[in-house]
Symmetry: C2
Subunit: 336 residues, 2 copies
DNA sequence: CTGAAAGCGCTTACAG
DNA sequence: CTGAAAGCGCTTACAG
């Protein structure tokens, strides 16, 4: 690869002048600019981003910390949205190791040694040591689904409370009075918000909150399957269940079917996420739509805004959720 | 962040000596080494990878070019495998833009300006200009599912031919004689190999190859749906169909059901990939398993081997495929 | 065993 | 408007 020195020689000017042309400085004569541009074209010169970064302190790289597998459907959509926003921004995306609990590994050191301009974090709780260090370090950061903020850290999530409230209302209107909830991991921000939405939803229709109607889980198919089994073993099982993820809902439905019951004939099921697999699944899943792609796009857009302007206030954004009604919910069989 | 100069000052030695300690040079006295290590610990010093890269010419970064969406289930598994192999390697992964057809964008320039040590490519055909440039440039590269090689470029794929052959045999043994094939994009390496496997499979059982039993597609659900519709409109429709992807198989099954027929009662369907969605789908899909995770792992392992040793011969590896039998294939209804 | 110096490919005051 | 020089944070011959 040609370097800036080669270009300078070819054009018969100094490297400083070449640099000025590359960076669109105004104080270069038209004649010189032409000469330099010609030399650049002739040598197919491209400035070395690495070298430039060393002096400007910017790497034109944003990191992404994913504390979940790539096979997580939420992550796929998120990345797809991020990619869209990245495309013409000049920034590239670097995946960062998620060895957060390895004592030999320091996430923040990693970010520093790579000169990262900004970070998107998904799937890590805000009380984690690495996250605290990251916030302290003052590197522009956007948290997805984690309610953390800092001087240079904002976050973005879906309107979780209202999503679940809409689900409760939908089931109530179908005549359900025994509505259970298959929850996520206790303590996680998203889980607490959704749980709050569930309680608020019940309250809005004067339905009592029952401890035994809430089962913790981990968003997976298996956790939905097992959670549903527990609910069905209750003396008074629910007639409807809201799940904290579509995958858990899939598991719940198969658990219901495995006991010889039908969805929605016997029990109605609502998911959360509206991942593309809902289109494949039978019965079609009624679920709460998250605009994951938009969250991906905005997380990057806001991050870049923070990078570009040190005074840009760290955003806290909530994307609207909506209810998508398919086949897995129906009129309650028994009104108690 | 502390720099190497800060450490040198703190330890009372030169930066050259600090550098030697960091890089485990043997010619440093134990006493000096101790002093330096202490200073490093005290200042929480981490060498700047960027600066180091500028002089060594290595960025400790491998790029990945994905010419498909992140939501593609194959990609998710591939990335998950790559991640595994990357974890303790010291290399980080950078996603590269896929603006391959944008005249303002040069993939190879991008790689150079980022000083990438190696590249993994998926979903681009070998005759694409960017790919040719990449091979010429001599940057270590591993192609996934693309039959390209170069002085420093190898590739890895599944045993596509044999996979399809096994599917034909399975169907033949179930009594099927009218076996159709829902193909992928003509010209793509993977497609040609699978098509060859289909023909070989038919040949092995003396079944005639019929043009009208092969329909091109693009691996998607919709293409499977439409392709199956075409097959079912034939005067003598097939009793079994092999699909070039699981997603296409899902589409094909729904097309069959939409016409009031059943799988496998009326028509047997085989997929390709064994993505995790096959577990969700009903009926359970008989499919050809690709060990995608292993392909991800090996693509990185081989790439790193090439990076480390300029004389490491570019590997061409074929991962075995296997048939996974579930519910979507059954005994042929009519023997012709 | 240790360190001064040159250099990787850039940018940025600053002097002219 | 142009360029010499210093410097970003490192590594690597080379001299001592």
């Amino acid at each position: 690869m040609a370097s800036i020195h080669d270009v300078a020689k070819e054009a018969g000017v100094s490297v400083a002048t070449v640099s000025k042309v590359i960076n669109h400085y105004p104080d270069v004569s038209e004649k010189t600019r032409k000469k330099v541009k010609l030399a650049i074209a002739r040598l197919r010169y491209r400035p070395n981003v690495i070298a430039r970064g060393l002096v400007t302190g910017r790497s034109w790289t944003v990191g992404v910390l994913l504390h979940v597998p790539f096979t997580n459907p939420y992550v796929s959509m998120l990345l797809e949205g991020m990619k869209t926003a990245l495309e013409h921004s000049g920034y590239d995306l670097m995946r960062l190791s998620a060895r957060l609990n390895d004592p030999d590994y320091s996430f923040i050191d990693h970010c520093h040694s790579r000169n990262l301009d900004g970070i998107v974090v998904f799937g890590v709780e805000k009380d984690h040591r690495s996250i605290q260090e990251l916030i302290q370090a003052g590197i522009p950061t956007m948290f997805v689904d984690t309610d953390a903020t800092g001087l240079r850290a904002g976050n973005i999530t879906t309107d979780n409370r209202n999503g679940i409230r809409m689900a409760v209302q939908h089931l109530f209107e179908l005549g359900h009075r025994r509505i259970a909830y298959l929850a996520g991991v206790p303590g996680q921000d998203v889980n607490e918000l959704r749980l709050a939405g569930y309680r608020e939803g019940l309250g809005a229709f004067s339905l009592a909150y029952r401890e035994d109607y809430v089962v913790d889980g981990d968003y997976s198919y298996d956790s939905g399957f097992q959670g549903m089994n527990r609910l069905m073993e209750l003396d008074v099982p629910p007639t409807a269940v809201i799940c904290t993820s579509d995958m858990a809902a899939f598991g719940a439905i198969r658990a219901i079917e495995a006991r010889g019951f039908t969805v929605p004939g016997d029990i109605s099921v609502v998911g959360f996420d509206n991942i593309f697999e809902t289109e494949l699944f039978k019965p079609g899943l009624t679920t709460i739509n998250q605009n994951i792609h938009a969250i991906g796009v905005k997380s990057i857009e806001e991050l870049i805004a923070m990078i570009k302007d040190p005074k840009y206030p760290p955003p806290v954004v909530t994307e609207p959720s909506s209810l998508v009604i398919r086949e897995s919910t129906g009129i309650a069989k028994v009104i108690t």
